[in-house]
Symmetry: C2
Subunit: 392 residues, 2 copies
């Protein structure tokens, strides 16, 4: 296996525009990423598309070939990768394998999702396909209700109140204020958080990431291609995918030993960090899957940053701020940048790349050298972890 580098990234602004079209969103992101890399489009060997809902909500499958065509790459290898909300991260993982293994020298990854062109109930039903339909969906469980179950169980087990979760959301909103691609540009304070309506007890509106549309893309390249580009006009630090891992857990909460223990987070984090040869103290920022504030707490514990029951110790605007001990959601995260489900994993990687190349502007984490990026499908059923490192 050879080293894999990120050569460029592209993002479309996240919107709630019901008129946007998936093929153009995806193509715009891929074209932007190719331009950012400074690569000749003809050198892209394959396109891996991460998407969850297009078949259900837009009657459109086979997005690989479709977006390749609209990007001007008709003919190339192209497929869609699906792992619910981890589809974008899983597509990065499959693309990583293709480059690391020597199949292709340069590939594009595109996460794309469109969610606001249908009624909200249709979105809720579609998102529930990420759960175990026979054991959870048929019982009326939604993604919201499953996360409410986890949050209630956590609060009861550890005796914590809802307001303890607020800083995760407040910090994400603060970081999104200066991210031009974020959906939400709205400062949040504790009072507003506490006064927001309870959408599924104990989850408040501001515990939840918003439904939205967007596409993001990443170009992965073999060492010789990355070296060539680094000597060209796109001069700057190179970013290496130093660790890559995907792990799973049973979909249904009822089939897990302890639903508050996200075993696939533990497993994939450990594998990715081991491959990269980094420890927890080396991580300069963590783009985690903050679809719900409870997922942030559980992730910090399972990923080894906090002991079980202490993840909320990180719910502190200073500690997780851009200049803090462990910056989270540095461009707003799923919570405030937005969570176009199958696209989120690619936004995360694109944002971490901007941090490591010192292109994060007002959102810059000082001296960012190592980033952990983690995308989760379902309530912890598919977890993709990547460690990205700046190579000076």
């Amino acid at each position: 296996m050879r080293d894999v580098f990120i050569a460029g990234v592209g993002q479309t602004p996240i919107t709630k525009d019901p008129q946007c079209r998936g093929r153009y969103l995806g193509a715009a992101a891929v074209k932007a990423a190719i331009a950012d890399a400074g690569l000749e489009p003809s050198r892209i060997g394959a396109l891996y598309v991460g998407n969850m809902l297009s078949g259900i909500l837009a009657q459109q499958q086979q997005l690989g070939g479709l977006i390749a065509d609209y990007t001007g790459l008709a003919g190339i290898e192209a497929v869609t990768i699906e792992a619910a909300c981890a589809s974008g991260g899983a597509a990065v993982r499959v693309a990583y394998q293709a480059v690391a293994g020597g199949i292709h020298d340069a590939v594009a990854v595109c996460g794309v999702e469109r969610m606001t062109h249908v009624e909200r109930d249709a979105v809720t039903r579609a998102l529930a396909t990420a759960a175990d339909w026979e054991l959870e969906g048929v019982c009326g469980e939604s993604f919201l209700s499953l996360n409410a179950t986890l949050m209630r169980a956590y609060m009861d087990k550890y005796g914590v109140t809802a307001e303890r979760f607020a800083p995760f959301a407040i910090t994400a909103h603060r970081n999104a204020l200066t991210n031009p691609n974020a959906l939400l540009h709205k400062a949040l304070d504790l009072e507003t958080y506490m006064n927001s309506r309870i959408v599924a007890d104990p989850i408040r509106l501001f515990d939840v990431s918003p439904v939205c549309n967007g596409a993001s893309a990443v170009i992965l390249a073999a060492p010789h291609v990355a070296a060539e580009l680094a000597n060209g006009p796109r001069n700057g630090p190179r970013v290496r995918v130093a660790g890559s891992a995907l792990a799973t857990a049973p979909l249904a909460l009822a089939r897990r030993t302890d639903p508050l223990d996200l075993t696939a987070v533990s497993s994939s984090t450990q594998q990715a960090m081991k491959q990269a040869g980094v420890g927890h103290d080396d991580i300069d920022l963590f783009e985690l899957h903050d679809a719900y504030t409870i997922m942030t707490a559980l992730t910090l514990e399972a990923a080894g940053f906090a002991r079980a029951g202490t993840g909320l110790d990180f719910a502190d605007g200073v500690r997780i701020g851009l200049r803090g001990e462990l910056p989270l959601a540095t461009f707003g995260g799923l919570k405030a940048r937005g969570h176009p489900v199958g696209a989120s994993g690619c936004y995360q990687v694109a944002e971490a790349f901007l941090q490591l190349t010192e292109r994060a502007d007002a959102n810059q984490v000082p001296d960012a050298g190592v980033a952990l990026v983690q995308n989760i499908g379902g309530t912890g059923a598919t977890v993709v972890s990547h460690v990205l490192t700046r190579e000076d």
Copy 2:
């Protein structure tokens, strides 16, 4: 890149049973393949699931983690690959990359589809998601109507009659008679074919592959694992994935220069054969994507076995029979074994493996040493080709 071998295969009988359940179908196929390989389940590093319709027709996404769990492989890397009807073949392709590139030493691929638990109209609408929804689907086009367009254009251009296509279907039905996993065990003759109803002019019922359920699985292994297994109880010829390629074309017929020219078939066939170092004369059998008889004719031309307009020269029960010049659909093909869409690509590989290991019983192609296997998504939009060779 290192060599990749097929270590074992599994198939569930194809049915129209509306009560079957996807997770158990998939798990049964994977377990059978692991047992066939004689491999310890704990040595499987990843599961790649090919599926097209589960999210739409069964409210279930994230089949990777789900089937891994029900196979007793909870925790391992697992994702779903989607490329419409080429999903199964595309999953084999992604799995091939993981083993060839040194990411995993042994992986499982599972194609699974369930189509008969909903009304026929729902299936027709779901299958139309493989086409370009904005340019074709919204106009009322279905997969049937698009193939009828191609067949009519072909008949008009080359001045051929519908009955010329019959031998493709008749041969497939004949081969399915002795395949215990086939859906259709019904001999077909020209009179029955010609008297069958026209479902979308000029397509007759017997030009079309049936809607059905099924799952098939394949174990891919690195050379050292394959060698170890070959020295164990599962003694016999080894089968190598000598060529692997995936190519795409625009989804909509209107976006192609010549809809009768399946450019992605040409491209992926050439790439796979070049990698394998084989010519057309070396191919002992061709498991092609005979979802419609017109696809067989167009495929034979684009794949280089016949010049444009002469694909029907192969429509001859002797020429494409098990002892003929180019055996097709040796276990019944999509036409008669059945076409559980996202699973078909894995059935094709499993069947070719049985041929190359001389386990095809009554369906055996004598001295089969090289097989070409091709799975198509849409009307030629995604095409996956594999060349499998027997290594004595």
